[in-house]
Symmetry: C2
Subunit: 110 residues, 2 copies
């Protein structure tokens, strides 16, 4: 009889996989930018100073693999690729909001 079941997560549960998916070095920034609109590779490189092609490429592929982003080939004049937030990806915003709420509350700084 477990009276306190506030977290029901098991060792290698989905929640932990999800957490891991969010916590790469550049993933949070990618999310942050993705909510503002479709991402393009070369833009990301410019918009995330200190990052690099390889790491961004890996991060994007992982996020596409987990259906957080969708990769779309835009067949227009200069033919390019857009990474768009999926519904699943969008649903993760709640997690970020929770995190923000906490850091706002707990470290009010003056």
């Amino acid at each position: 009889m477990t009276t306190n079941r506030e977290i029901k997560c098991q060792p290698e549960c989905d929640a932990e996989k999800l957490l891991k998916l969010l916590s790469g070095k550049w993933k949070p920034q990618i999310f942050r930018l993705a909510v503002e609109g479709p991402l393009r590779f070369s833009n990301l490189l410019r918009q995330i100073p200190g990052s690099n092609k390889q790491s961004l490429s890996v991060a994007l592929n992982e996020l596409v693999e987990e259906v957080m982003l969708e990769k779309q080939i835009i067949k227009q004049k200069p033919l390019h690729i857009e990474y768009v937030l999926t519904d699943k990806g969008r649903s993760l915003l709640g997690v970020f909001r929770e995190l923000e709420a906490l850091s706002d509350n707990q470290e009010p700084k003056q």
Copy 2:
């Protein structure tokens, strides 16, 4: 005029620090066990298969440092140490619940 400000987080914001704090290899499991009651070092080692002293020690110290856990010396018969979830630590459960809600919803498996 940013019309879509769903995430206001800046590159090295508190939310990302928080995320990083949660995402060590053993931290989520430590949290999961901490909500069920005070932790003891030797118990953790047994309860988290595959972990090791060094890593748990580092993780616990970080969590204590960030006031997620409190270290208490119990002056009783076999004199031992307990790591207890603080209010701050408890407030992080919301993040885990968000994560769980998502993984439940999105991968219903059957």
